[in-house]
Symmetry: C2
Subunit: 325 residues, 2 copies
């Protein structure tokens, strides 16, 4: 598969060489909390020193590393995919949740709840081989555009967080994604865009089946949920895939709270961070998105002393495609 | 947890510095097939060159990296654990499969089939936190001895395969375990013994549950099977955890065949290897163990040109604790 996903390698590679890390972060307590944590766990002789193999950091994706408005980007993929499949399915015109999606009637779709979502996901994400699915995702990423920014979705990512990923890795950390998103959807592009290889991406999954078909080994994606990597599923997913407790976690909603609890409450130096979407001009401002609210996580962050990013105040640049101030 | 697991780091570290790789392998076609494959995929300008990030190699464990006789070592752990728990369970004296195990009556136990095995596993592997389970495994590994060799089980490992692991890593490969064994059983010791970190261990699993207990985050192991990483489960586990198709696979039974098919049949340079247990004097000779037979895999290896190790002929040293010839 030829690859034309986004030129963000440049944005990623800017920071490690920089004399001052995290250039897109304004000076202040938020930026200092990251620098202090990393210096503590990496400075020989410091009581907070952590062995390199235990420097595990986990990142949520939607709303933490890329935007999630006006809808979760993987949901936009599902909608576009359904539209592409519709000509072969005339019956969808009178059948929910398909009719609602095809007419852009998101209220009716939302009324269908989790059942409608799962039906949309299964129809658009299952019934093909893993290789075929990767190609479909790749093709969508190279053609679809974010409605507001008119950019590929893989460019609607947070420059300050790319700098955190690079800064942690330059300090011996292994960075993992732990997201409610579909694991095979994310693996297609994350190595190129975030520098995170497929084996360090943890996500939700559907069941796959191995078969030899005419002498060719094939994995087929079945319309059955295997694992939901959200809320209490996140620490479970971390344990299943990483098998080691992270010492740093980055999220932006209540769905990330158990992951932050698992990583950031414990002996030794630990770090928790929440991205708070407070910038209605450059990005979006919200407390509650289609992907969940932030109430409980904000309350616990305050009680535990976790870092809360005020996007409007703390970031001098949101996206790689903006000039930095 | 203080660690006293096995001094095999030494054995692991011997090879990369060596002028001749794979010193415990006798000269011949078997050794040459490994050297040729690795040289091909790592030599710049060679048509077989594979990018470092795609150099993924997967290894079965039981019978491939350590012995599996007179019984699978994790099964020996289960038996010892049951004996340690028995004083608190007087009712087991009259209850199967417990009575059979406690009396060492493996015939009666075997008659119970998969159901008896699952009951033994759940009783001995579930009902505690993940941290507690790690401690139990660790304590067992530091005290239990292999009945024939009178060594810790973590020393009854194959020196030639340690050399392959080290040789592959020295050539830019990432090495993964893909085993039917319990993932949390294996992760306790594999980093120290094989140099494979927890996040590169794929195995069978039971369900875990996340909870905050009096402000402390805890993962509890429940008596419910989550995933069986054997036979057709192996390529599925590879896809779930690694998300990339390996280019080399090492196994020793029909349970490894789908993994070998997934890794070793495909475009580009690929490698499959089966360990055939042919040495009744230094190790064991068998075609069919409690963990399965080898018939289908041997037949397919011949048809596909995969490498078959004749342990007696090809290895001049089996275990790290033997002197090399």
């Amino acid at each position: 598969m030829t690859t034309a996903i986004s030129p963000t390698t440049l944005a990623l590679e800017e920071s490690p060489q920089d004399q001052t890390p995290l250039p897109s972060w304004n000076e202040g307590a938020t930026k200092q909390s990251i620098l202090n944590f990393v210096r503590g766990v990496t400075t020989p002789g410091d009581a907070r020193l952590v062995k390199p193999e235990e420097r595990i950091a986990v990142f949520d994706n939607d709303g933490t590393l890329w935007s999630e408005q006006p809808m979760a980007f993987q949901f936009a993929f599902g909608v576009d995919r359904l539209k592409a499949m519709a000509p072969q399915h005339p019956e969808w015109k009178d059948q929910q949740p398909y009719a609602a999606v095809l007419q852009g009637d998101m209220k009716t779709f939302a009324a269908g709840g989790m059942r409608a979502i799962i039906e949309l996901v299964m129809t658009t994400h299952a019934g093909m081989t893993t290789d075929e699915f990767s190609s479909i995702v790749h093709d969508w990423l190279t053609s679809a555009r974010h409605p507001r920014f008119d950019r590929p979705y893989t460019e609607v990512i947070f420059q300050p967080m790319l700098e955190v990923l690079a800064y942690l890795r330059a300090n011996g950390f292994k960075t993992f994604i732990v997201s409610g998103g579909g694991v095979e959807f994310m693996r297609v592009w994350m190595e190129k865009v975030y520098g995170i290889p497929p084996e360090q991406v943890v996500g939700s999954s559907i069941v796959t089946k191995f078969e030899m078909v005419a002498g060719v080994p094939v994995l087929t994606r079945l319309p059955k949920v295997d694992f939901i990597d959200d809320h209490e599923g996140k620490p479970v997913g971390i344990d299943m895939h990483i098998g080691r407790r992270p010492i740093a976690a980055f999220g932006n909603s209540d769905g990330d709270l158990p992951m932050l609890q698992w990583a950031a409450i414990g002996p030794g130096s630990r770090f928790g961070l929440l991205v708070h979407h407070t910038d209605s001009v450059r990005e979006y401002a919200y407390e509650r998105s289609s992907l969940g609210s932030l109430d409980k996580a904000l309350t616990e962050a305050e009680a535990r002393g976790w870092t809360v990013v005020d996007m409007k105040q703390d970031w001098n640049r949101i996206y790689p495609f903006e000039g930095s101030k």
